[in-house]
């Protein structure tokens, strides 16, 4: 018998204490304003690049890169991920992982079967 009875009480006696604000983490004002400033700067930057810089096939990469930096800023500071429980962050990031799987497989398949589609229209 590996696990023998280690019995404890379910409703713990000590839940009564600490109705405090120890789970609230108000974000400092300068962090909020700084994040906002950075976001505006990046928005203007991405429009500027799209209009004035010829990047060819890298264009999508650059604009997505800037968008991702913006997303990280919003996530980390506006959404408090910077201060949040690791598990919650993990939960959110897992959605991105599964989205990546979805898009990865679908795109891989689409990439390889494109000739079948173009063949059809070439006929």
């Amino acid at each position: 018998m590996a696990q023998h009875a280690t019995t404890t009480h379910a409703a713990s006696d000590d839940h009564g204490h600490g109705h405090g604000e120890h789970f609230a983490h108000p974000a400092p004002v300068w962090v909020l304003l700084g994040t906002f400033g950075a976001l505006i700067f990046l928005t203007i930057l991405t429009v500027f690049i799209a209009d004035n810089v010829e990047l060819g096939s890298f264009e999508l990469l650059v604009s997505m890169g800037i968008a991702t930096v913006k997303a990280v800023l919003v996530g980390a500071f506006f959404m408090h991920m910077f201060w949040d429980k690791g598990f919650n962050v993990l939960v959110f990031l897992s959605s991105l992982l599964f989205f990546a799987l979805f898009i990865g497989f679908a795109l891989m398949d689409s990439y390889e079967t494109l000739p079948n589609v173009s063949d059809y229209y070439k006929r």
Binding site: V117, D119, Y120
Partner: protein, 350 residues
Amino acid sequence: MINPLQSLAQFYLPKQASNFAAETDFLFNAILWISIVSFVAIVVVMVWFAVIYRRRPGYVPKPSPSHSLGLELLWTIGPSLILIWIFFEGANGYATLKTPSNDAEVIEVTALQFGWQFTYPNGEVTDTLHLSVNQPVRLQMTSNDVIHSFYVPEFRAKMDIMPGRKHSMWFKPTLIGEYKLFCTEYCGEGHSKMVRDVIVHAEPWKEMLRKNVRWREDQNHPVANGHRLYKLWCGGCHSYDGSAKTGPSFKGLASLTNREFADGSSLSFSGSESDEWQDYISESIRKPDAKIVKGYPNQMPSFEGKLSPEQIGYIIRFLREVDGGTYTEPAKPATESEVEAGAEAAVAPQ
């Protein structure tokens, strides 16, 4: 020398009629025996335990461990090895399936609700698939409407056909005979009627094609032309013997005096020679959604651009012929002039 396992397989596997069959069946049987052995072992152990360790007066269970890393590893790694072997065998067979032979004959396949059209290299079109034994073929498949799937069990070959893209598959028939071709992707009301014959000929069909045994509409009786076009284009949804199919039957269509439509309107005809009747049939083929017969959904695709005016004319001749519900093969026209006369008569009014 008869392999007993081989002869057992005939009860659960179709004949082996293509080059893939032996390889696929080998894996099928291998998995079968692996499964039988492991399944029997599991069930025997389960029932045995249930009997000898059942709760009963006087029975005192002996202590036993609640976990064992060794056992867990054993039954993680053991099955994994078998599974890896099965995967590679399957992938091998799949590679054969996907690597067409160089000397494959190309046949164009068009799937439509609810029938098949096979176009051979010389331009001949049939509704049953003719192959010659040991001649590899490559099917270039397209669909006219929804997703269909080409499946001949004896060939162990299957491929979906999606509209909007070209699909390709190949195989080499190795056994003379007649087989069934099934559509295995659900495609609508007549899905289960989308079964046609596949005939593997002993003499090379290719040779026959070289001798130009292709259907020439200008050398055949217009009604025979119409019958052929019916089989290729219409037979999936319309019967001519009055039996129920997706669309209205052609029986009695030529002697129709009045037709009611889904929108409440109706048309009267004075015989199948009248312009009204011929215009109605011609319109129904080219723009089927213009007049929907009462009691039927709007589901027929347009054949505009797929059938020439002459061909529509042949179909009209055929419709007059099968008005009574039966079709008799017309005698071959004797002279060229008769053929010409027949072709002229068949041209539909525009």
